[in-house]
């Protein structure tokens, strides 16, 4: 039977078992929306801004193991989506974005709502396609899903001109995909794995440094087994939180700019560092020359060869699927019948524990007068039993959530780590809530970030998404203010948020419940009340201390051992 291009698009989504599409209609996608209307399998979530559609698809993907799908129109539809696409690209999130395009005969004529979508998104997608024939739609969408999910995941854009979506052709969904120029890796090289195992067994001061690849690669169980088998300290990056249980005694916290003292020092002074699905980025190791001054052997396991030896020299590179490589490594360790030297390891742990004692783990001075943001996160952790999905926006609140909410499971911590996109948290939470109905979803945000996509409160109302929004309202763009305090002579240039709305009334205007919390003693009751309301979105406006700063801190351009602790200022 012949179908229109638009019908084929929807049939493809059905074939891929897509439950939700996040989108916004417009001229170039009218045929696709018409086809969507005439079926029930694929549900559409109408957002209020295309950026939110992509972030929602992103949250959906991060919290499940599925490919998120967004649908936008041409021109401003796709340009609005670009921030979301770049966010997903930086964090390697599997996603398919379908965009409408002006009709083929109008392309290049500066037609109404025309933009070169493939050109504009090229640097921030894993791959993209412009479909020029209805016959190619099915195979292209099949490829898009395959590319998005396999290898190092990422967003893939399929741009479909309006006339193509109305052409009729035979629909055949390909059973398999073969792209001769694309061969994602599987198992790691066994000789390299043997070398890695030997190096780990001979290490005197070993350290495990695991990143977002562990979460995305479904390798958290293997990582946990490896760390426990070896008895080594383990750190998880901002993207890797939950990859290893945060309440475990071998976990030393997050490394990097706002990591724990012990994680930073152990990264700096270990003699063997095994990096697993992490990429030594500037926010993790700080100054790369400073990091390289201390001699250490580095084993680097990653699915993407270009992540290896990009910023630091690597002694044992292993390219492969993390889950498979870690299984190979565990087998190699078992077969070797060797254990790391216990006295060396004990001495190393003594050193790590000394650092832990000096840094005091994470600490802040609580107050009975004014709400400390860290206290809110601690209470959130307690009240949700450490088992919520937590999304965040970007800034101080993001760091406090990462530090004080102890993630024991992967895919529970949803944040924009790479691009650092304000406005990510609320729409991401929508995607999380939809794919995890009944789960507790908290969006930790600030009064700055939340206003970047606050219109999504309307989407939450329409689709009954009982997200709990915790806005740590300090009346400042806190991270900007912190840097201005430390490095720009207390000149708070444009970081004060004046003329803030009444967030309680705003939440109520959208049909939700709003609570303003002014006193520390009201924090716990408010959280309890909010989380008891299983079916309502509750917006909590916590009036927090505007002078609070995020510690520890490795200042920009400094080395990991130059970390500043709270009491040093």
């Amino acid at each position: 039977m012949e179908l229109t291009g638009a019908e084929i698009v929807i049939r493809c989504l059905q074939e891929e078992r897509v439950e939700y599409v996040f989108g916004y209609p417009g001229g170039a996608v009218l045929f696709i929306y018409d086809a969507l209307f005439q079926q029930e399998k694929v549900k559409h979530i109408l957002v209020r801004h295309e950026q939110a559609a992509v972030h929602a698809a992103d949250g959906y993907a991060r919290s499940s193991d599925k490919v998120g799908v967004a649908l936008v129109t041409s021109g401003p539809g796709i340009t609005n989506a670009v921030t979301g696409i770049a966010t997903a690209y930086m964090d390697s999130i599997p996603m398919v974005i379908i965009s409408g395009q002006v009709p083929t005969y109008a392309i290049g004529e500066d037609a109404f709502q025309e933009v070169d979508a493939v050109g504009i998104t090229r640097p921030c997608v894993k791959h993209n396609f412009l479909v020029k024939d209805a016959k190619d739609i099915a195979a292209t969408i099949k490829k898009a899903f395959y590319l998005a999910k396999s290898g190092r995941p990422g967003p893939v854009l399929v741009d479909i001109p309006k006339d193509i979506s109305n052409h009729k052709t035979e629909f055949v969904y390909p059973g398999s995909v073969n792209i001769r120029s694309y061969n994602p890796v599987g198992r790691g090289d066994s000789a390299q794995i043997r070398r890695a195992a030997q190096m780990l067994l001979e290490a005197k001061r070993p350290m495990v440094y695991a990143g977002g690849g562990v979460v995305l690669g479904g390798a958290a169980a293997q990582l946990t087994e490896l760390v426990r088998t070896l008895g080594f300290p383990c750190t998880n990056t901002l993207m890797g939180l939950g990859g290893y249980p945060a309440t475990d005694k071998q976990f030393v916290g997050m490394p990097g700019m706002h990591g724990t003292y012990e994680a930073c020092m152990a990264m700096q002074y270990c003699d063997v560092l095994i990096a697993i699905g992490a990429r030594f980025d500037d926010r993790v190791i700080g100054n790369v020359e400073h990091f390289a001054q201390v001699p250490r052997k580095i084993i680097h396991i990653d699915i993407d060869p270009s992540s290896i030896a990009k910023r630091v020299k690597v002694d044992v590179p292993v390219v492969g699927d993390l889950k498979l490589v870690l299984e190979q490594l565990l087998e190699e360790l078992r077969n070797s019948r060797q254990k790391p030297n216990p006295s060396d390891l004990a001495a190393w742990w003594k050193q790590v524990d000394e650092w832990r004692a000096k840094g005091g783990g994470l600490r802040y001075k609580n107050s009975t007068e004014i709400i400390k943001p860290q206290y809110v996160i601690e209470k959130l952790y307690e009240i949700t039993g450490g088992d919520a999905f937590v999304t965040s926006d970007v800034g101080q609140h993001q760091m406090w959530a990462a530090q004080y909410y102890k993630f024991n499971k992967p895919r529970r911590w949803i944040n924009s780590g790479g691009l650092g996109t304000m406005g990510f948290g609320l729409p991401a939470a929508m995607g999380v809530q939809l794919i995890n109905p009944g789960a507790t979803v908290a969006c930790v945000t600030g009064e700055g970030s939340i206003q970047m996509n606050i219109q999504e409160l309307s989407t939450c109302k329409q689709f009954h998404l009982p997200i709990k929004v915790l806005s740590l309202n300090n009346r400042y763009l806190g991270m900007v203010r912190q840097w201005q305090e430390f490095f720009h002579g207390n000149r708070y240039s444009e970081s004060y948020m004046d003329a803030l709305p009444d967030f309680v009334k705003l939440a109520e205007a959208y049909g939700h419940i709003g609570i303003r919390i002014d006193k520390p003693s009201d924090v716990e009751p408010a959280l309890k009340e909010a989380f008891a309301r299983k079916n309502d979105l509750v917006f909590m406006d916590f009036q927090t201390d505007p002078t609070e700063n995020v510690f520890p801190m490795v200042p920009g351009g400094k080395g990991l051992s130059e970390v500043i602790l709270a009491e040093e200022l």
Partner: protein, 163 residues
């Protein structure tokens, strides 16, 4: 250090801009880039001349390999290879000057492909360095136009880049 990199990629719209975009986005040098379809019309062969430290060249190779449309990458400079560039030079020369030019051209294995009363156009194929040398030998003041294709490269003997 100068490197000459060959790659095979899908002969599809946009493939060239993916490669060019990669170089500009990541701040890599690109001295020349030559591309055309191969005997298999679905594949294009590209030769890129670039320069950078060993670490940068390693990243360039990896990043090129990462592009979905790129099927194979070979750093020709890592082994024995040949490179050739085609150059067309239009020169203003009459009488004795033209005779002198003919002599230099013969030494360089070039040939006239067009001659008018006041101008002549020379075709020359050689390594980039030899072409540079020829331009210096004839002197800038005579040259009206220079058109160069950028280097094309191929491995020697059994060094073959094929799918």
């Amino acid at each position: 250090m100068r490197h000459i990199i060959s790659l095979l990629m899908e002969n599809e719209a946009g493939a060239l801009s993916r490669v060019a975009g990669l170089f500009s986005a990541r701040g890599y040098n690109i001295e020349s880039l030559a591309v055309a379809p191969t005997e298999d019309p679905t594949l294009s062969r590209m030769t890129i001349v670039t320069s950078g430290s060993d670490a940068v060249i390693e990243q360039i190779n990896k990043q090129l390999n990462k592009l979905i449309d790129v099927a194979a990458v070979m750093d020709l400079s890592e082994g024995e290879h040949l490179e050739r560039e085609l150059m067309l030079v239009k020169v203003r020369a009459q009488g004795a000057a033209r005779e002198e030019l003919k002599r230099k051209m013969a030494v360089a294995n070039g040939r006239f492909i067009d001659e008018s009363e006041n101008t002549c156009t020379i075709e020359l194929t050689d390594t980039c360095a030899k072409l540079d040398g020829f331009l210096q030998a004839i002197g800038r003041e005579l040259i009206l136009e220079t058109v160069r294709t950028g280097a094309s490269g191929i491995g020697r003997g059994e060094r073959i880049l094929k799918l």
